[in-house]
């Protein structure tokens, strides 16, 4: 019987066993699931949410820009601040939370008299929930606001980049955009470093930068010039103590400045710097061993090459040697020297002196030289006295430093204490001594073009250059000059390079109408060296002192009427 079978013990036992097995399986599954959920939840709870913590820890007065690292400072070589970041307060308002609009307007205009009532009325009646009233408020205004107890106000903290010295080194420092990202100058070049809060120490000397600027500005005003550039650099390691480009601007107002003022004439502007390039011509001549200091060149007649006639500003009626070519600044003599060593040698030395490429200075605003490279005799000749070659004043300073630094290449740098990777020798020590002797004569000799630069005791040496300004639409401006001086001091052991350029000076009554480098730039050099040398630790040397050592060669320079027979 079936019913009987059901109550059969074996069958019941078998069923119970099956049932237990299913129960055990379900329980195990439930247990595994529970443990998995508990495990997951434990791990998720143990996980620390950084975002949440940051949100908790920042108070409501601080916005996202403040949450970032404070941008690093920029210091000058004496650890004086050139650029820093401070937190400012901005005033925002939620019009929906204002209960009495007229009362709020009255309170606000009392604290901020420069806010217009009509504007405030418009803003407070807006449907928006967040309106910026003022980008910056002073701590005093902030306290007044707190005391006034105005509802719906939101005061946010934000970072602001400031330049406490205003115009000082503005072209070098550059600027940051509204998000605090570097957009020009050192701010751009070192952006990644500054963004993470690291400071940058420049080689610039605040005091010397100011003196260079003041003296250059004064001369620009006197000669009604368009602008200028000034550089003072360590002659041994290339550290730049001052870089001036005029006109300049207040670095705190970068965004509201005309493009013209933002242009860096010292490092980006390329100019034909005229006879200053004769220094390089003379150095190449000595170095090529094709000409020596006793070889003479007839400069009594203008030199006709192709369709062009090369003249001298002050013609001489006798043959002159290399030192005299430089001291009298003879274009004809320079052209004849260049003709001897040729185009290939000239280009080789221009390249090795860095005059054909952009410099590796630590700012983005760098100019690329333009040089005629057709290798024609005429081009070689004109390049020898600075025509057909456009370089930045910084290029000229660098080349001058290499010439006086025993021929070891000097790369300009804005970083204090930067170590030079390799010592590249461009010209020999002997050539360097000859060049230093000639450069000194340009200033010390009565026939020298830079005699107005003589500051007794400091043994200044260098070379002037006056060139017609290039017309962007072709050719040259006949009545616009670029005047320049490049040199070093003290010439018996050059410590510092000084390079000055003035753009388009006008002849004045006191200069008898002259607007040449000898009249315009040389006096600035004298004043500048007299003022900065004591700061730079360069002691004046009395030539009568028994400790005085000249270290220079004695070249004889003949005047206009001391000619030898040809």
């Amino acid at each position: 019987m079936k019913t009987f079978e059901f109550f059969d013990l074996d069958v019941r036992k078998e069923n119970q066993y099956k049932f237990r097995k299913i129960k055990l399986l379900i329980s195990s599954l439930l247990l595994i699931m529970s443990f998995t959920i508990i495990g997951y939840r434990t791990i998720s709870l143990a996980n620390i949410n950084k975002e949440k913590i940051l949100n908790i820890s920042y108070t409501t007065t601080e916005n996202k820009s403040f949450q970032k690292n404070l941008r690093g400072n920029i210091y000058d070589r004496n650890n004086k601040i050139l650029a820093t970041t401070i937190s400012t307060l901005s005033l925002n308002i939620n019009p929906q939370e204002i209960l009495n609009k007229y009362q709020t307007i009255t309170k606000l205009t009392k604290i901020f008299p420069y806010l217009k009532e009509e504007d405030l009325f418009k803003k407070l009646n807006s449907n928006k929930k967040h309106i910026n009233l003022l980008r910056e408020i002073s701590p005093r205004e902030y306290v007044s606001l707190l005391n006034a107890g105005i509802e719906g106000l939101k005061i946010e903290k934000a970072n602001k980049r400031i330049y406490p010295n205003n115009t000082l080194a503005s072209h070098i420092l550059g600027a940051t955009d509204i998000d605090g990202k570097g957009i020009a100058g050192v701010e751009k070049k070192f952006d990644s470093q500054l963004q993470v809060g690291k400071d940058v120490t420049l080689s610039i000397h605040g005091g010397i930068q100011h003196i260079t600027r003041e003296l250059l500005l004064d001369q620009i005003k006197k000669f009604k010039a368009e602008g200028g550039a000034g550089i003072i650099m360590n002659a041994k390691n290339g550290e730049l103590f001052s870089i001036i480009s005029l006109p300049d601007y207040n670095a705190n107002n970068y965004n509201s400045i005309l493009n013209e003022n933002l242009f860096n004439k010292a490092t980006k502007g390329i100019y034909e710097l005229g006879s200053t390039l004769k220094l390089i011509t003379a150095a190449i001549a000595f170095e090529s061993n094709l000409i020596n200091e006793n070889d003479v060149f007839d400069v009594s007649k203008p030199l006709k090459i192709s369709s062009r006639i090369i003249n001298d500003f002050k013609p001489l009626d006798y043959a002159i040697n290399i030192p005299e070519v430089i001291v009298h600044s003879s274009n004809i003599g320079s052209a004849k020297i260049a003709e001897k060593f040729g185009s290939s040698t000239q280009l080789k030395y221009l390249r090795s002196l860095g005059l054909l490429n952009m410099l590796s200075l630590e700012i983005p605003e760098l100019g690329k030289p333009q040089v005629i490279r057709d290798k024609k005799v005429l081009s070689t000749m004109t390049i020898s006295y600075g025509h057909g070659i456009s370089i930045t004043p910084m290029h000229l300073a660098s080349a001058t430093a290499t010439i006086v630094n025993s021929g070891v290449k000097v790369n300009p740098t804005l970083i204090k204490g930067k170590e030079e990777e390799k010592n590249e020798v461009i010209i020999s020590k002997e050539t360097s001594i000859k060049m230093k002797s000639i450069m000194r004569l340009v200033v010390s000799n009565k026939n020298g073009t830079a005699k107005k630069a003589e500051a007794s005791g400091y043994l200044i040496g260098g070379k002037t250059g006056t060139a017609e300004k290039i017309n962007p639409s072709g050719g040259y401006f006949k009545k616009k000059n670029i005047v320049a001086f490049t040199g070093a001091f003290p010439m018996n052991d050059p410590q510092f390079i000084i390079t000055i350029m003035i753009d388009n000076p006008k002849g004045q009554k006191f200069s008898f109408g002259y607007r040449t480098a000898g009249w315009v730039v040389a006096p600035v050099v004298k004043k500048l060296v007299t003022r900065v040398a004591p700061i730079l630790g360069v002691k004046p040397q009395l030539e009568s002192s028994p400790n005085f050592s000249n270290n220079l060669l004695d070249f004889k320079i003949r005047g206009k009427n001391d000619g030898a027979n040809l």
Binding site: F35, I38, T42, L45, A46, N47, I48, K50, I53, L54, I56, S57, Y58, E62, F66, N69, L70, N73, K80, I81, T84, T85, I86, S87, N159, I162, P164, N165, N166, L168, G206, G207, Q209, H210, I211, E214, A455, S456, G457, T530, R531, P534, K539, P540, Q541, L542, S545, P546, N547
Partner: protein, 101 residues
């Protein structure tokens, strides 16, 4: 019936979970404190920067120059103001030698 090892494991897991949660809670608290300290440092740095900037503004070379020339009556250094000590020694020696003779 739950066996002894199972209950032991269960309590160990419970204890570990609870400890982990406590540690997490502790770390969160410390992280908040750390962030707040970092904020305070940043605020202090910003305040220092303000002071430094104000000091730099007051010590601007153009301002110092004006004060030196107009208020203090100072003037630029001249060549004759600077003497090399060695030259002075030489001059003194020459004078004293001359006197002896």
């Amino acid at each position: 019936m739950i066996r002894y090892p199972s209950s032991f494991i269960f309590f160990v897991i419970l204890f570990v979970g609870f400890s982990l949660y406590q540690i997490k809670h502790f770390i969160t608290k410390k992280e908040i404190e750390l962030t707040q300290i970092q904020n305070n440092i940043k605020s202090a740095k910003s305040d220092i920067n303000i002071l430094k900037a104000e000091l730099t503004y007051l010590k601007r070379p153009d301002r110092i120059e004006k004060i030196a020339l107009n208020k203090l009556g100072l003037r630029e250094v001249l060549l004759t103001d600077i003497w090399n000590l060695e030259d002075l020694v030489d001059v003194t020696n020459t004078i004293s030698n001359g006197e002896k003779k």
